[in-house]
Symmetry: C2
Subunit: 457 residues, 2 copies
């Protein structure tokens, strides 16, 4: 009933931009991975920070849950309305507000997607490097501390968000950070909000660092006899300090999925997909050094993509790996793991994971941002099949213990959402309680994305 009264209170603020249409509710209740559809009670499309602040104030008055929403590409059910409430869709707050080429930063609204931003920036000679694959919204990417293929060179969202405008659980509008390159002026609220998954505040504006478009770019695909050989190539490359722009692993099963889904003609073997950014001389030197390492590890069939359209095709294929893998078992959904370990443990972590999956009745192709020590297995499960899900969870559980034993984390980039809640105590111990203290201090009514990230919320 409180949600009903909240909806009534919101109508004068949002008019027909507050909707309860079935298609809207379904769209915003869907999960990209294996979670059951969990629609909100309504979807709001605010157009300004003032509307967001008013929405939050009225929801707070009526104890109504608020779930922020970008493009819905999360894999951990971050935006599922597990307590009902109002989904705040930021797609109408999608303006690039200011580009400062001389300072290499940009101010955007949260609904701008990373591809739209880079299209807008093209003429400036600058680009925004964080690339999670999906064409996610920048607000969502910040909220989940996203990273992806280029983090090995340019860092994650934590490294690339300079400042935020945030609406607090009290409906106050605050600003965090500045346009200066560094600051030691108190607690770093920017980095607290980045990765807080909508549980501490709603992001209504972002100031982002930009990078100069590299003068030269070169990319390549290279096959290896074993995952081990590929991973050892990665470890040596990173330990040599080669400034890779991208270094991605796909296993044989993923190569097979590319062949049938994307019409690729890759040998069904593990591959590395790499990219170099820099001056023409630097790119040439780095390519050669990488080639020598790969060669020593038995890498073969180097396929260099020096033309822009070939590189675009290459990374498009990589970005669609998840869909290619899903298509390899018709009707399947996936539980996607997201371990990240110290680079020295990477080969062991992947080998043990492969052995676990081979001993299971499930399949789970592996891809990874291996330069960061981060890899995923997409464990394919039949929709609604409890035995499949149980087995996927058993495998995931073993992987989690392995990552923690190796000094790593249970989630390198996908975030906590619904799926990783059960691992938080194992990873953080008493630190998870501290997160709860912060949550209760900043959102004592627990209206912001309840049921996510912290214990008992």
């Amino acid at each position: 009933m409180t949600i009903q009264t909240a909806l009534t209170a919101l109508e004068p603020v949002l008019g027909d931009r507050l909707t309860r249409s079935k298609s809207d509710l379904d769209l915003h209740g869907r999960s990209e991975s294996h979670f059951a559809t969990t629609p909100p009670d309504a979807v709001a499309y605010p157009e300004s920070v003032e509307e967001v602040a008013e929405l939050v104030k009225r929801c707070a008055t009526h104890d109504c849950p608020i779930i922020p929403w970008g493009t819905g590409t999360s894999l951990e059910g971050h935006a599922l309305a597990v307590r009902g409430g109002i989904c705040v869709d930021f797609s109408r707050m999608n303006k690039v507000l200011a580009v400062h080429p001389e300072d290499m930063d940009v101010v955007v609204q949260p609904g701008v997607t990373r591809e739209d931003l880079n299209t807008e920036l093209r003429a400036t000679g600058l680009f925004f490097p964080v690339d999670p694959g999906a064409n996610a919204s920048l607000g969502g990417m910040a909220a989940t501390r996203a990273s992806g293929t280029t983090a090995v060179r340019y860092g994650t969202m934590a490294d690339n968000v300079m400042g935020l405008q945030v609406v607090t659980a009290q409906g106050e509008i605050i600003r965090t950070g500045t346009r200066a390159r560094k600051s030691s002026a108190g607690y770093d609220l920017t980095k607290l909000i980045v990765g807080s998954e909508g549980t501490l505040g709603l992001i209504t504006e972002l100031t982002l660092k930009l990078q100069g478009q590299p003068e030269a770019v070169s990319a390549a695909v290279c096959a290896f006899e074993t995952v081990d050989a590929a991973v050892n190539t990665v470890m040596q490359t990173i330990q040599m300090g080669l400034p890779m722009a991208r270094i991605e692993l796909v296993d044989a099963a993923t190569a097979r999925a590319f062949n049938s889904y994307a019409g690729a003609t890759m040998p069904e073997m593990p591959h590395l997909m790499v990219e170099f950014h820099g001056t023409p001389a630097a790119v040439a030197e780095q390519s050669e050094m990488f080639g020598a390492i790969a060669d020593e590890m038995g890498g073969k069939g180097f396929d260099w993509a020096t033309k822009a359209e070939d590189r675009t095709a290459l990374w498009k294929m990589r970005h669609n790996a998840y869909y290619a893998i899903l298509a390899s078992r018709p009707g399947a959904r996936a539980l996607v793991t997201d371990l990240c370990v110290p680079i020295s443990m990477l080969a062991e972590a992947i080998n043990e994971t492969v052995a676990d999956i081979e001993a299971s009745f499930l399949t789970g192709p592996i891809v990874g941002h291996v330069g960061d020590g981060n890899f995923h297995s997409a464990l394919l499960i039949e929709d609604g099949n409890a035995r499949d899900l149980e087995e996927a969870l058993r495998l995931s559980d073993r992987m989690v213990d392995r990552a923690l034993r190796m000094g790593g984390t249970v989630t390198g980039e996908h975030g906590v959402g619904m799926g990783k809640m059960k691992y938080m105590e194992r990873e953080h111990g008493g630190g998870w309680d501290v997160m709860g203290q912060i949550k209760r201090a900043m959102d004592p009514q627990n209206i912001l994305n309840p049921g996510k990230l912290v214990r008992g919320n």
Copy 2:
């Protein structure tokens, strides 16, 4: 009286490592800048995290303030015992616990100084890059989010701390972060504690990123007719994307101070001090490109220091700039400003600051980590002279408004401590209240470094 009972309760834990000797109290009550000596009631020298945890628990029982202490090199009175209490000196927790060369990280206790760490690392081919000048403790550097000369290339402490062990205000031992290169597992407690200045927890262990020692290093000093010409050189260099390892400004007054304090023979003009790290070819290319920009701006008298001992002498002189400047007015103390602005605003910010100081009866030599848009003026004041202090505060106040108007921050690297409290509301608005919410949630008794950073604590 509560402090007395806390001391009695601590004696069995620490024995003679809990001291009230006058020399100890004075040492730990001193400020490196203009703040009056404010000694604690006692100084504790714990030797393990368990001792720290027990100390905090017993202090909590008796509501006794706790002030963590590294080497006392802060410029903002961070460790002054404004409410009395116990200063926790970490100098006996000074072990390097583990070096992981293959992962390029290291685990240290908080009392290890940056110079000691780099001495210990020398044979590994790795180094820890953050360089605030002073030979500070790594715990103190993390607590204040320090940076310094190399942040333009390697980042600040925020970028180089991967994980922490922390004793909370409740005396619980928690761990934040992991040894993986990235994580999205919940709120980033590491980055919340870094820069929290001892108000949220005591840092008892740090995991730090390391860098490969550069194959080639080259440094140079170069004079300019005007500060403007020097700063424009910096702006062009940064905007061209030259990966400077260091790019430091000293003004004519500082050059004069170097000449008389350090026996230098610099023309009394503004100078840039720069350093390049990389392969021999890259360093040569970068030096040449920088030289061309400087030349265009009228830079002259390039003095290249290619030998290691010459570079050591150069940076030692730079690191002692503060003492050289203090010596230029015998008996003086300093109020040191710490603005950081977007790079495009740097020339304007410095020019207006210089004009302000020239119109004042005080002197205030300027040095800066200008590649980050960060610069300091050491406003020299006679110890105990109220008129001098008032004028320094007036100048500082104008500078603060200027930095904020330009989209910058009131403190790039020195932190809040005592000196910047009065500017926090101006910089953060409602964000400062959010910091207070976090403080009260994590330290409801307000025993951790009370009187610092947040409102009314």
